[in-house]
């Protein structure tokens, strides 16, 4: 299975505490949204990330696959 880079956007700007929920991902907040991006190794990994987002009461705006990166 090869890893894919993903960009997930949620509503609202997240502070450092919420950002710490997404270990291993790059989190950046601007213009009323937060982008969480990084390498996702397989569908379960993505599913886990989406559940984490739901568990924190965050509203999902978009999920974008940025294509395959180096073999993962």
């Amino acid at each position: 299975m090869s890893a894919h880079d993903y960009r997930v956007v949620v509503e609202g700007e997240l502070g450092a505490r919420y950002a710490s929920a997404f270990e291993g991902m790059t989190v950046s907040a601007h213009d009323g949204v937060t982008e969480i991006s990084g390498s996702i190794i397989d569908p379960s990994h993505l599913q886990g990330l989406l559940e984490r987002i739901a568990g924190l009461g965050l509203q999902l705006r978009s999920v974008t696959s940025l294509g395959t990166d180096r073999a993962g």
């Binding site: 997240l14 919420y18 929920a21 009461g57 965050l58 509203q59």
Partner: protein
């Protein structure tokens, strides 16, 4: 003790009564199924709880969690809830769940029967259904919904749509849905909340707050906690509205930073606990006054949920618990969880101790706990849960505790998991035997060998006998506790191989052991084999006695037909056939086949079909016998070593063709008319001539005329002969054209 999973959360004094939503739940007397489907913090649990508090009927409340991925565990808790409605109502379901390898759906059916017997309105609440991911568990819930009796209502809360056929239920209007749109606070509701909390916020301030939070209940409750501490709440709301920060993030910050440092520290460090008591908090935090602090927090804050009236069990609101854990950070959590595991272990809360240890990444403790308690899980039927934990452990931990891969393989076999999974666990056990010979024991040897042997169901009879013999040798060397099951297993393998004298000796040893009744599947299986062997060898009387002993024991134990008695039903079928009671023989054989049914072909099922075919030949139901025989033969050709099954099939085939040729020797002179056939069916059903006349609206004389004509056409001289001939010719079978 009532388990915290089954406790109704307390309604907090500060909770808003949401009349609009309560009316939705009551409308038209309510649908059988209500789904509350919305994200975290939408007040689903609170709403259902307040509704239950206003209703007169009994409530079974269950909070689901990830461990309910084992359907047996899920339904055991629900059956315990039903059992509490009244003496014995959940008993049948619990017995079925306790029988290893029995399908969960049959227990669900029993549970629904228990609800029918309750005969009064009852509400079942499944809270947090989204915690369950396993398809088998979700299917069992969907099955339960289909069988829900008229006196029961089911309310399910979830964060995401469960795969229980919601679209179909929607079309049939059999479903009430309450989703985020309905659950969000209106401006009026928010205004009532703010007033109730004694906050002096202007109406524009309330509108701004609802707009900023989009009516998200968790956001509004957090805002209330924050605003009630402010001098100028309107200014606070304006600043909040002007910020681009996420609602929960912003408000949690405000609430957490306003807390006294000691309280804050307490909240952060206890946030790693799922459900907790004051004693557990004391143990984890090394303090002594958690009870007072929790009581105070439960009074003043809505993010702590009291699960009972006595102040014993608590949990945090899901969202708040998540935020607290983020604030605590990752470094501190494992040590706190380890202490929680120790506390639970010392109090015999095995499942919790395993879960905390697993969350702390403490494989060593998980392995120790599983080794100490494996029989409770396996004999208690919680196989999926046990196997899940074994598979969670890294392979080094499995090699250090060889019992775990060995018993894991047994469990996987009982759960009918794919062959590759069973073989992989047996492979790890084998590795452990070579790497750590000092840990190996006859007990482990017996467990591994009997698991190998039970793959007989997959069609290698020769290998099953070989492994069965090794398992028995290991048991004799020093694993007496496993004797009954292992002996029964070898006896079954030998039976399918065809060594009937040895079957009798081994099965007899198993049933004569004083501990035999403690191992129901082994005991009943061995009795069934004795019945089969005696009936086959012409000792019909003792065959029947063994069979009845087995069936009665299984009925008493499980209060229903159990799969473990399938061999006994087959033995009884042969004993009945041997003494000419052919109706009863076929009934028993059909029962034996039904109880042995499985998704993939098995030796046991193929053998049951052969017994049925044999009885059908004896009864003269030749068309049916041929179909049954063909089904058995199709399965048999797939087995690498089918033992004596091909020989049995060949013998039945010979009997069948003899019966066929003697039937063609006795072709009727002329086909009976439809009216004559109707009379013939009455005779076969044991009716008197007068009763037949009444049923067919014809006179007794006409019945007699038809009977005389039948005798002539079929070339017989008595009623018994006429019925037997008609059966052999297939004249009585429905949908069969005469002749």
């Amino acid at each position: 003790m009532i388990e915290p999973k089954l406790m109704l959360p307390r309604v907090h004094a500060g909770t808003m009564r949401r009349a609009r939503l309560l009316d939705m739940l009551d409308r038209d007397g309510g649908s059988a199924l209500t789904v509350l489907d919305a994200g975290v913090g939408y007040g689903k649990t609170t709403l259902v709880r307040s509704w239950c508090a206003e209703r007169p009927e009994a409530v079974i409340w269950m909070t689901l969690d990830a461990a309910d991925d084992d359907p047996v565990r899920l339904w055991m808790h629900l059956a315990t809830g039903v059992e509490r409605l009244g003496e014995g109502l959940g008993q049948q379901a619990l017995l079925r769940l306790g029988a290893r390898g029995a399908p969960v759906e049959s227990a669900v059916d029993e549970l629904m029967n228990g609800l029918v017997a309750y005969d009064r309105p009852v509400t079942i609440v499944l809270d947090d259904v989204h915690s369950v991911k396993n398809q088998a568990s979700i299917r069992s819930i969907a099955h339960g919904i289909k069988r829900l009796p008229g006196n029961a209502r089911l309310l399910a809360s979830t964060r995401s749509d469960p795969a229980i056929g919601l679209a179909r239920l929607r079309v049939r209007r059999a479903l009430t849905e309450i989703r985020a749109r309905e659950l969000a606070f209106t401006v009026d509701e928010a205004s009532a909340l703010i007033t109730h909390e004694g906050i002096a916020l202007s109406s524009q301030g309330v509108e701004l707050l609802v707009e900023r939070t989009e009516g998200w209940p968790a956001g509004l409750y957090l805002a209330a906690l924050w605003l009630r501490e402010l001098e100028d709440p309107d200014a606070g709301v304006r600043a909040f509205a002007g910020s681009a920060r996420h609602v929960g993030d912003y408000l949690a910050d405000e609430v957490l930073s306003a807390l006294a440092p000691q309280t804050r520290d307490f909240l952060l460090r206890t946030s790693v606990l799922g459900r907790f008591t004051p004693e557990l908090c004391d143990a984890v935090l090394g303090r002594t006054n958690s009870a007072d602090l929790l009581a105070e927090l439960a009074r003043s804050n809505m993010f702590l949920v009291a699960l009972d009236a006595r102040g014993e069990w608590y949990r945090y609101h899901h969202l708040f618990g998540e935020v607290l854990q983020l604030e605590l950070g990752r470094e501190a959590a494992p040590e706190l969880r380890r202490r929680a595991a120790q506390w639970c272990r010392a109090r015999g809360l095995v499942e919790e101790a395993i879960e905390y240890s697993a969350a702390a990444g403490d494989a060593q403790t998980v392995a120790e706990l599983l080794v100490d308690h494996h029989l409770e899980f396996i004999w208690g039927g919680r196989l999926g849960q046990y196997l899940g934990w074994v598979r969670w452990l890294p392979s080094e931990a499995l090699v250090d505790h060889p019992l775990l891969p060995a018993s894991g393989a047994t469990t996987a076999a009982l759960l009918a998991r794919p062959e590759v999974e069973i073989q992989q666990l047996l492979g790890v056990a084998e590795l452990a035997r070579r790497k750590r010979p000092e840990l190996w024991s006859p007990y482990l040897e017996a467990v591994v060998e009997v698991t190998h042997s039970e793959t007989i169901e997959r069609g290698d009879v020769g290998a099953a006998v070989e492994h069965g013999r090794r398992a028995v040798a290991a048991v004799r060397e020093g694993a007496d506790i496993l004797s009954v099951g292992v002996l029964a297993s070898l006896a079954q393998a030998l039976y399918f191989a065809g060594d009937l004298a040895e079957v009798r000796r081994i099965a007899m040893e198993a049933v004569q052991r004083p501990d035999a009744p403690d191992v129901p599947d082994g005991y009943v299986g061995a009795l069934g084999l004795l019945a089969l062997v005696d009936a086959e060898q012409g000792r019909t009387e003792s065959g029947e006695a063994w069979a009845r002993q087995a069936i009665d024991f299984a009925r008493e134990r499980f209060q229903a037909d159990s799969w473990i008695a399938s061999l006994a039903h087959l033995g009884l079928a042969l004993a009945c056939a041997g003494t000419g009671r052919l109706d009863e023989a076929e009934r028993e054989a059909v029962r034996g086949v039904r109880l042995r049914r499985s998704p993939q072909p098995t030796v046991g099922h193929a053998h049951a079909l052969l017994v049925l075919a044999q009885v059908q030949v004896a009864r003269g139901r030749l068309a049916r016998a041929a179909a049954t025989l063909a089904q058995a033969q199709r399965a048999t050709t797939e087995f690498p070593d089918p033992g004596r099954l091909p020989a049995l099939a060949a013998a039945i085939e010979r009997n069948l063709s003899e019966a066929r040729s003697s039937a063609t020797d006795h072709q009727p002179i002329e086909q009976p008319s439809p009216a004559e056939l109707a009379v013939l069916r009455g005779l076969a059903g044991g009716l008197s001539r007068r009763e037949i006349g009444d049923q067919l609206y014809i006179s007794l004389n006409t019945v007699k005329t038809h009977t005389r004509e039948l005798y002539r056409k079929l070339r017989v001289t008595s009623q018994a002969e006429a019925v037997a001939r008609a059966e052999a010719l297939g004249l009585l079978e429905p949908g069969q054209s005469p002749g």
